[in-house]
């Protein structure tokens, strides 16, 4: 794995290249344009939420039987995307895959912001959002507690834990780089900002040793956490008795789908960032190749999930389940099923070719297709199940309203705003880990030379 090594040899060059982006952002005009767009979308978020809170959930397209709509399918979509960062970061750390060092920081940031978006959705979708804290256990004058058999309560704890762990993992990972930024900053304001955020980190060997203990143990716990979180989200569906949901394949199916969509978004972000900020030497074609392989692998596993869902239904032959399956394949919402199948798996097959894997534009387009395809999948799983459940009499279609879409746009605004702020003001690649990789590779070379 020689070509994962960054080209600018020398620790100072690595530090300069990465940290200078945070201290003195190169292309401010482009950033401001993007940020302007993000702010517009953010405005849409605030307007949508204001309208939603003033009038009630009725402004959306939800109905009975489709009591959940875009809000919950987007929640799952965002949370799924939010799985890649931690997986890349924690799992590859444990597997000692050094190529992760060029990707993990922004992947984690992406995770964080996606989880924030995901976490907002269940709160705003409540009929009485001002009472959301009733889901939390706290002593109260009613002596009533949350209902711990509910998948929603599980979700509350899962998302809360996942968000907290993601923030901490990301934060202690960024502290040494923030210290670099502090040490290189010239302006007083930047010094104070980075100085506070760096917590006085000075790279002492004892600190590094404990840091490593904490970082690794967190990574080790984070991997099963990721798996558990999306398993629990899948139980939001699978725990209900509704045909099309009540299936044991859901937890792995959801986790793989989550990783799949997350890797797609990481690939997209990697391609955009390396292009916009000239990071080709840090995020090399080799990185893209590896990302693409991951995407392909998780994509194929997700496809297996699709297949096994179909197979299970056919094998069991249960009347209602069959009805839901056939409706997914050929009903009113067949576009969402076939949209998911086509967008997820057809362009994906190009990734069997190495030339495609290392071709940024193509990889970007394939990843975009997967991101959209996974959105279709979440939408399909939710809507096709609810709109035709058991009783023929209650079947009714669901169409998202303007305010559904405006809130979705607004959530993308929340994500983009946070992510752009991150890109602008914090080291977006882990410089110290790149340096560490450089050092260890030298050591390896030396050993090889000596050996």
């Amino acid at each position: 794995m020689t070509d994962v090594a960054p080209t600018p040899h020398g620790y100072a060059a690595v530090t300069d290249q990465i940290v200078d982006i945070a201290i003195d952002y190169p292309d401010r005009r482009a950033w401001w344009i993007c940020f302007g767009v993000a702010l517009l979308l953010l405005l849409s978020f605030f307007v949508s939420v204001t309208v939603l809170f003033s009038y009630g959930v009725g402004v959306w397209g939800n109905n009975i039987p489709v009591a959940w709509g875009l809000a919950i399918s987007n929640y799952i979509w965002f949370l799924g995307i939010g799985h890649a960062g931690t997986l890349i970061s924690a799992m590859l750390l444990l597997l000692e895959q050094h190529w992760r060092n060029s990707l993990n920081r922004f992947a984690e940031a992406m995770t964080l912001f996606a989880v924030i978006c995901a976490g907002l959705y269940p709160i705003v979708h409540l009929g009485r959002p001002w009472l959301f804290y009733w889901i939390a256990p706290y002593p109260n004058t009613m002596t009533v507690w949350p209902q711990f058999r509910s998948p929603l309560t599980w979700d509350f704890f899962a998302v809360l834990t996942y968000l907290t762990v993601s923030i901490l993992f990301w934060y202690i990972g960024i502290v040494p780089d923030v210290a670099s930024a502090r040490d290189r900053a010239k302006k007083r304001r930047a010094q104070v900002f980075f100085g506070l955020a760096a917590l006085g980190w000075r790279g002492a060997a004892h600190h590094w040793a404990r840091w490593r203990q904490a970082y690794r143990v967190t990574a080790a716990i984070a991997v099963p956490l990721v798996v558990s979180v999306h398993s629990e989200v899948s139980l939001l569906f699978a725990a209900g008795p509704i045909p099309g949901w009540t299936s044991t394949v859901f937890p792995p199916y959801f986790v793989l789908g989550a990783a799949f969509s997350g890797f797609a978004v990481v690939s997209m972000i990697a391609i955009v960032l390396r292009h916009a900020l000239g990071l080709q030497n840090l995020v090399t074609p080799r990185h893209l190749d590896l990302l693409a392989k991951l995407l392909l692998a998780t994509g194929l596993m997700t496809a297996y999930g699709y297949w096994s869902e179909v197979f299970d239904t056919l094998y069991a032959g249960e009347h209602q389940e069959m009805g839901t399956l056939l409706d997914r394949l050929g009903g009113v919402y067949a576009w969402s099923y076939w949209g998911a199948v086509v967008a997820n798996f057809i362009p994906l097959q190009l990734l069997w070719f190495r030339r495609v894997r290392t071709q940024p534009l193509l990889l970007f387009l394939i990843s975009l297709s997967v991101t959209i395809g996974m959105w279709f999948e979440r939408y399909m799983l939710l809507v096709t199940t609810l709109y035709r459940d058991y009783l023929v009499s209650s079947w009714r279609e669901y169409h998202p309203s303007f305010w559904d879409w405006s809130l979705f746009a607004g959530m993308l605004g929340v994500f983009l705003t946070l992510f752009l702020l991150f890109v602008r003001f914090l080291p977006i690649i882990s410089s110290f880990e790149v340096k560490e990789a450089l050092f260890e590779e030298k050591g390896n070379k030396k050993e090889q030379a000596h050996g």
Partner: protein, 222 residues
């Protein structure tokens, strides 16, 4: 390279963090305390009434039974407020010219009801039934307190769900003989608790009171 922070910055930072934690803790404690405080529960807070009616005088001094005015307490969900003419059964003879009673006379003359301000009230989604409590021997004082000691009426108990549940989970200690429910003082029960220690338990068995069923949500919420 000069220091970015002074030597005192760490002290300040730690103080700051500690302060934030403290403020947060205090807020939570305050909120918790506030919910239980008499400011939130209105326990002991006297409200201005159109007529400064004294339960202390009427119940304590004159010994009028609760049911003389609150006539429907044994048969209805609501205890009932006395119609103006009930006031006038006595006050057409006594204190006929008292300025304090002018609103009562005015109400009778005009036919407009006296607008009392409610002291013991529950949210609209709580359905409390006086008659069943009275018939099971839950005394008036259990919820309304010693009104015979209240010159002006005030809430005696917090009327929170927890408070309701305390009794619904363990009604036995509150139960009294049917004919004693409107009695304000429990001198004998208080002085000789051992004589009555089995009463509640026996009444529970007799009335088939099962606390597990008493805390069904539908007992109060419909």
């Amino acid at each position: 390279m000069p220091q970015i922070f002074t030597a005192s910055a760490d002290t300040r930072l730690r103080t700051g963090v500690l302060l934030v934690v403290l403020v947060f803790a205090v807020c939570i404690l305050f909120l918790g305390g506030f919910m239980d405080s008499t400011y939130a529960t209105r326990v002991g807070w006297v409200r201005d009434q159109p007529v400064p009616f004294s339960h202390e005088h009427h119940v304590g001094a004159l010994g009028i039974d609760c049911r003389y005015c609150h006539t429907s307490v044994e048969v209805s969900a609501q205890a009932g407020l006395p119609p103006t003419h009930v006031c006038m059964t006595c006050h057409s003879e006594l204190w006929t010219g008292a300025p304090m009673l002018a609103p009562v006379r005015e109400s009778l003359a005009s036919g407009k009801p006296i607008a009392w301000r409610r002291v013991a009230r529950l949210p609209d989604y709580v359905y409390f039934n006086h008659s069943i409590h009275i018939s099971r021997g839950v005394p008036c004082v259990a919820c309304h307190g010693r009104v015979d000691h209240m010159p002006l009426l005030a809430r005696a108990e917090p009327f929170q769900m927890r408070w309701c549940l305390d009794c619904h989970r363990n009604p036995a200690p509150r139960l009294r003989p049917r004919d004693q429910v409107t009695r304000m003082d429990w001198s004998d029960w208080d002085r000789h608790p051992e004589r009555h220690k089995d009463f509640g338990r026996r009444m529970m068995a007799r009335y088939h009171i099962e606390p597990a069923k008493l805390i069904d949500c539908s007992t109060c919420h419909r």
